[in-house]
Point group: C2
């Protein structure tokens, strides 16, 4: 195997990861003098802001997944490679991937983050994370499956385990999935499962700090707490989950909750890059970069988005930037022009984060939004927020279908998407996955 | 576990399988005096006529899968149970399912058919069938995956294996998937994989008889053959595949084809019902029924659709009915009224199949249609055909989305659906599946 990218006289920019940052960078390098190679372990860009809606059967997976080859159709000097990056060899200007070595003139690490289990193997094995589309589809299937089984299980205790949902982590994801599930409880269950009292479904949201959405204002935290409680979500603040074993969640105050649906959305850690010197890795496993997103002490290796940490460079954000879509998009944007400047021997522009605000939606018509200046109702805030983030990356069709599905869902609670379905893996695929898992690099 | 269906004073009709026949029957028993229990191993009805489009990334899985609970919302005296039926106990008026025993007053077996591998274990293990939505999603993933790997694989020979597609079986499914894949080759590959010469992709369709679509007229067979060959499909007639080992397809004339995508769509066999006496099973494993779809020698057990075989009863169809949607729908329809007649002690009506014709589509704008009397162009024939079959089963939203997606696909070749994606199975689910697989009945 080899990555099989033709050598040309153009300099090669290898982008690892096609999230918000990597995708924006690749797009902005159009009409540049670079050969661009995008490496991602999926063949699509996924749109995290709506992943919770896939989990709650509100929206199609394909409505928030956009094939890279579709996005970059007809693009010159562009190559996509479906592969996992194992390690970097800066001294050789090369990376090692699951499909072979790849050399670069400029390397940009943009692989984002992964779920942080804080070293607890039990939790890692038994919880359901919600970071990827694949995980959220798994959660959807598991939820629906548990409803079905709750109808026919042997004991009342098992039924309660099947209907209790415990969400750990009061950030945007936790808040949004809690809201979506409580609407499922209140509007979907009574219709779809008339012989299953929906009062039996209990949704717990556990947060270790004293407020939800700690990244937002106290007012937003208070509002979200009020919203969720009014919707019947059991919000536990100042509580830490210590373990999850045999369908039991253990909380630091000694209490326990029995559940088969244990959703783990508290904290992330940057994707690890093999052979990255320890002195270049900071808090949360994030790669330390300078004001130009250049990895400390390297001159042709960069990192952008959630995966990197820019300390003391951006006056307003000396502690580093929040791990959100906007910093990634803005860094991808700037890096594109900085790479062109480098080639022209021009002076690079330092990164200055322009905070476009943030928001979290609770169910269909409640949201907390913090936009510079603006004040908006939940629904419009939400729509605007979507537009802002969809604008740059999507083809007309996708944009249309996202909205189409979302509106349908808005009025029908996505009543036709509640399918328990897994794609059957061809033997050939299963065996290759085994082989790949075994290859040590 | 127990099926947990409340006993009422109403007589209970248990329907096994929610395909065209079972679904129609359940719908027609609305406003009857029966308690209806529908048992299916999926929580959705799947729409086979478009399954090949899911495989070729033309349409959403959710566009042709319709959750039973959605279809039967607000329905009185109706119960859906997600379970597999293991065996029948006619002497006890009971069935054994994966979630426990269930008693019935009337039992209707409508589980349809499954892929027939004619006892060849190698082929069963290594081929990709296309009978279920899950299988067709798996095929979609495998196809796209192979394109990606073809770009980076080690040897020209491996590349050829990855790009060759062999379809065994020249019935409607084989013809339709061959047509869809040749359009993928001609219109999608060049755009999505500019660095992969699409001429390298070879599509083979192998049929053991001397013509395709042997269920249709010679003229239709000739047309379809002409269409497919003009689209560059290698159609091999009078050839039998004898084996598939180590990526090599062995054909009875001694020739071989190397491929990693071996699609097996030749022949089906009726789903087996445990404990069904051998003397009640006929050709193709189909359950022998009388003119009223009653299982020979049983008075409260019926079978409809592909799973049953009605010999010598229907004057025009003494050899049994074709295994298509229409006979199933019409039998479900009639059985609903016959069950009501039984209750009123009235004389039952014998089944008479009204042939509404059949069709097969080749790509986007070629089709062969044989409708009683009618003559139609491919596209309109196709649309009409869809309407006929969607009409009875779908909610407005679904009908709309099927057409919406299908039209989009028709003009864009479903460019945004080419996602390689598998739902991640929660550990809980994996373990239960293991347990279920182990339970012997």
């Amino acid at each position: 195997m080899s990555c099989n990218v033709p050598k040309t006289d153009k300099k090669r920019v290898v982008i690892v990861g096609g999230g918000f940052g990597g995708l924006k960078l690749a797009q902005k390098l159009k009409k540049s003098n670079f050969q661009v190679v995008l490496v991602d372990k999926n063949n699509y860009h996924q749109f995290p802001p709506l992943i919770y809606q896939v989990a709650s059967s509100g929206i199609e997976p394909s409505s928030i997944a956009f094939p890279f080859r579709r996005i970059f159709q007809k693009r010159k000097d562009f190559y996509f490679r479906l592969a996992e990056v194992k390690s970097i060899m800066p001294e050789k200007n090369m990376i090692q991937t699951s499909i072979g070595k790849l050399s670069y003139d400029y390397l940009v690490l943009a692989s984002g983050t992964t779920t942080n289990f804080f070293g607890n193997k039990e939790i890692e094995e038994n919880s359901i994370p919600m970071k990827t589309l694949s995980e959220s589809m798994g959660l959807r299937n598991a939820l629906l499956d548990n409803f079905e089984r709750a109808l026919t299980c042997a004991s009342p205790q098992e039924r309660q385990e099947l209907l209790n949902v415990v969400i750990v982590g009061g950030g945007a994801t936790g808040v949004e999935i809690a809201g979506a599930l409580s609407e499922m409880k209140n509007f979907v269950l009574p219709k779809d499962y008339p012989d299953l009292p929906n009062s039996l479904m209990n949704i717990y949201l556990i947060e270790s700090q004293d407020r939800l959405l700690s990244a937002m204002s106290q007012k937003s935290s208070d509002n979200v707490l009020k919203y969720l409680r009014s919707m019947g979500v059991n919000v536990l603040l100042n509580q830490r989950v210590t373990d999850y074993k045999d369908h039991i969640v253990y909380i630091n105050d000694g209490s326990t909750i029995a559940t088969r649906t244990f959703i783990w959305v508290t904290g992330v850690t940057a994707q690890v890059v093999g052979q990255m010197p320890a002195d270049k890795v900071g808090r949360g496993g994030r790669i330390l970069v300078d004001a130009y997103n250049r990895v400390k002490g390297m001159d042709n290796v960069f990192s952008i988005g959630d995966q990197c940490l820019m300390l003391d460079a951006d006056p307003q954000w000396k502690g580093g930037h929040p791990q959100l879509a906007q910093p990634a998009i803005q860094q991808g944007n700037l890096l594109a022009s900085n790479l062109k400047r480098l080639e022209k021997g021009k002076k690079l522009k330092p990164f200055r984060y322009k905070n476009l605000g943030s928001m979290a939606t609770v169910g269909r018509n409640k949201a907390v939004a913090e936009f510079a200046g603006m004040k908006m109702g939940g629904f419009f805030a939400w729509l605007m927020w979507l537009v802002v983030h969809l604008r740059s990356i999507l083809g007309v069709r996708n944009k249309f279908i996202v909205f189409f599905n979302w509106m349908i869902n808005y009025f029908s609670y996505g009543q036709s998407l509640r399918l328990i379905i897994y794609a059957k893996k061809a033997k050939e695929v299963v065996e290759r996955e085994k082989r790949l898992a075994q290859t040590h690099v």
